[in-house]
């Protein structure tokens, strides 16, 4: 009689296999479910209700989205968030790359510069915001310098456009070091032989940058573009700290996420309406990611 021992063991092992990976993944899945999936689905559902902070809502269909279309503040928020992407993303794709090229070289003291450029990344955004508010104040350091050289005071924090641009500058300044590190990792993988070959062919530094470095880090540039565009569209802290809770003069610097915070929080918050704005933010950010990644695939092919 043939032994059935090994086959029985194999069947038992096969039966155990499907459950054990789930057991390992369970803690992570629980956290994701509780803190990402549930709030996300909850937001989606709330967007179709008139729920308020303390008052349960009723299903109102697309009423919140219809209201959005006629809400001036929503369009101002959308405009500012879009402008933020246009103003910040190109700078955050190109400048950190140039910075990475600068600090890539192994020369004495370069570690200090790498650390210095990275410092704003680890600094608290609140501290950073306050420092820039002091610098750009009507009587701050920057205006004092401008006055000294005869330019006169500039209303960095009182003019709606200058305020938005100042906030963009802070975002760029704070993000440079973070994306620089990503580029440094990418540049480390560019074969030195390519540069040497181009140099032998007589290519100068600029030519080598365009023909060797950029193609080699193109996918990293796309990644940086995608990450920074999502972050820029969802900007909150910089504008909130510099323009104040009301979103600058007459609320003209309000961004979409600021509008979500202002509309949906507090004891009288309109959770349903704020959720509808959040859904719009989500759709636009996903679209932005897809656009950047598709553009990258197209340029690669």
């Amino acid at each position: 009689m043939p032994s059935t021992g090994p086959r029985t063991r194999a069947v038992r092992v096969r039966r155990q296999l499907p459950t054990s990976p789930w057991l390992f993944a369970a803690p992570g899945l629980l956290v994701i479910g509780a803190f990402i999936l549930y709030p996300f689905v909850s937001t989606l559902v709330n967007a179709f209700t008139d729920r308020r902070t303390l008052i349960p809502g009723e299903f109102v269909g697309l009423a919140n989205f219809r209201e959005l279309l006629h809400d001036d503040m929503f369009w101002i928020g959308l405009r500012n968030s879009a402008l933020y992407v246009l103003g910040v993303v190109p700078a955050l794709v190109i400048l950190p790359l140039l910075l990475a090229l600068l600090v890539q070289k192994n020369i004495p003291g370069i570690t200090f510069f790498r650390s210095a450029f990275y410092t704003p990344v680890v600094a608290s955004i609140v501290v950073v915001g306050l420092i820039w508010v002091w610098l750009l104040d009507e009587r701050g350091l920057v205006n004092s310098l401008l006055e000294t050289i005869g330019v006169g005071r500039v209303g960095f924090l009182s003019d709606q456009w200058l305020l938005l641009m100042s906030a963009m500058a802070v975002t760029v300044w704070k993000g440079l070091g973070y994306y620089m590190i990503i580029y440094l990792a990418a540049l480390a993988n560019v074969p030195r032989e390519l540069h040497e070959a181009a140099a032998v062919d007589g290519a100068g530094a600029v030519r080598r940058f365009v023909t060797v470095t950029v193609p080699a880090v193109r996918s990293t540039m796309a990644l940086v573009g995608a990450l920074s565009s999502v972050a820029a569209f969802k900007v909150f802290s910089e504008v909130y700290l510099m323009a104040g809770p009301s979103g600058g003069p007459a609320g003209e610097d309000t961004t979409l996420v600021m509008l979500v915070q202002r509309t949906g929080t507090g004891l009288t918050g309109r959770v349903g309406y704020a959720s509808a704005i959040s859904v719009v933010v989500f759709v636009v950010t996903v679209a932005l990611m897809l656009l950047v990644l598709r553009a990258d695939r197209r340029s690669e092919s």
């Binding site: 689905v41 559902v45 729920r51 303390l54 008052i55 104040g244 009301s246 003069p249 009288t268 918050g269």
Partner: protein, 429 residues
């Protein structure tokens, strides 16, 4: 690809769970019966008071527990920043403490959601212990009842920088007493300093409209009315100040903190404050302190503005007798008086303001401010409507800014602000 039954069930659960969350809150608010034995564990929440008054509250709690054996009070303190959001989260999550430090605008939505105990029914016997106006400050238009014990009151003078007044050719001992004088002095200071020195750092808020004599709401409290001729007049004056740089160019984005800082750095000539501020001036800006002028709040109505703090009892509390007893204990005359001696605030209990501590001067600025404030509190008004939410404040502020920038006329701006506030009021239910 066929979808498995398990996946369908999971998706359905995901969709139904949030819907079930929508069904919570806003129930009947529990009973208003607070009779019975004072016992059990309760939680008491204050608003940014632990840092400076820890021994006071620990002593108060210990005395209460001694007076009522079998009670235990757990004290939690929340930071000033985001206090309303913290209460919102607790209220929505069913974890609101038994006794909560609130202001009238925080009480209103909680009362509407059935989370604040009606003290007229549950603790009406204590009503006569408090100033009539203070007790009434936690009533909600459209609802019957009173929803918090009045606690401390605060008001303050208008501080001004004598040195800046002098530089502008004004008599530093003759500060403005009326709105007309204020506007005239502000324009003169701006003119004589070539726009370098502004007099005010804040755009007009709802309290300013109230003090100017503007009717803020209709008598029924069902709609806003600050777009009347008087309101337009005030905003027109402010526009004139803004154009002349008599109102700080950054006023449109200012916060009370930032405008206070501007006064400290002598960038603006006047700033409203309270008796608390004098200590700050002494510590942070000795040069300003040497030149500080103190004058009364300017008002056209004869009533200055005051801020009211209250102590609310959670209508859902499992220990209502203990919660009501403790809320009353915190706010009774003896404890309000002892708290007022710790910090520059004023008691809301009847007769407390007649104490020599609030009526007799000893020659110091601190006492002078305290005595003047206590005197003005006797007929002070909390101008901020109870139903005036944060969203409404922002709507008013943004419309005022449009008027000051010249994008809208003052009338248009106030009409729009009233329209926006009325819409928000309707949405509050």
């Amino acid at each position: 690809m066929p979808v498995s039954r398990r996946a369908l069930v999971a998706a359905a659960v995901c969709l139904v769970l949030p819907l079930s969350a929508c069904g919570s809150g806003g129930d009947d608010g529990g009973s208003t019966d607070a009779s019975g034995k004072v016992e059990g564990d309760i939680i008491f929440q204050t608003w940014n008071l632990r840092a400076n008054f820890k021994p006071y509250f620990e002593g108060l709690i210990a005395d209460f527990e001694k007076k009522y054996p079998g009670t235990k009070v757990k004290w939690v303190d929340q930071p000033a920043e985001g206090y309303a959001d913290k209460i919102s989260a607790d209220a929505a999550g069913g974890t609101l403490p038994d006794v909560v430090n609130v202001s009238p605008d925080l009480v209103a939505p909680l009362a509407k959601a059935g989370l604040a105990l009606d003290l007229d029914k549950a603790a009406g016997q204590y009503r006569k212990e408090y100033l009539e106006g203070a007790w009434a400050s936690h009533r909600i238009p459209g609802m019957t009842g009173t929803y918090a014990f009045p606690w401390y009151l605060n008001t303050g003078p208008l501080f001004y920088n004598k040195s800046l007044f002098k530089k502008a050719g004004l008599d530093p001992d003759q500060p403005p007493k009326t709105y007309d004088e204020l506007f005239a002095d502000a324009l003169r200071i701006a003119e004589n300093s070539d726009g370098e020195v502004s007099t005010l750092a804040n755009v007009p808020t709802i309290e300013d409209f109230g003090r100017y004599g503007v009717e803020l709401m209709n008598p029924a409290g069902t709609a806003f009315a600050f777009n009347d001729a008087k309101g337009v007049e005030l905003l027109t004056k402010y526009k004139e100040l803004y154009d002349a740089k008599a109102l700080d160019p950054q006023a449109l984005t200012a916060t009370p903190e930032s405008s206070g800082k501007k006064f400290l750095t002598e960038a603006v000539a006047m700033n409203p404050g309270s008796a608390l501020d004098l200590g700050n001036f002494k510590k942070q800006a000795p040069n300003l302190y040497k030149n500080i002028g103190i004058t009364d709040q300017i008002t056209s109505t004869g009533h200055v503005n005051m801020y009211v703090m209250g102590v609310m009892v959670n209508a859902q509390s499992k220990r209502k007798p203990a919660a009501v007893a403790f809320a009353h204990y915190v706010t009774d005359a003896a404890h309000q008086m002892s708290f007022a001696k710790q910090v520059a605030i004023f008691p809301s209990t009847a007769g407390s303001l007649d104490d020599p501590y609030f009526t007799e001067e000893d020659g110091t600025d601190e006492t002078r401010v305290r005595v003047a404030a206590a005197k003005s509190l006797k007929n002070a008004v909390n101008y901020t409507p109870v139903l005036f939410s944060e969203q409404m404040k922002t709507a008013l502020r943004n419309e005022v800014a449009k008027a000051l920038q010249g994008k809208e006329s003052p009338k248009e701006a106030l009409d729009n602000a009233v329209k926006a506030c009325d819409t928000l009021l309707r949405q509050q239910g």
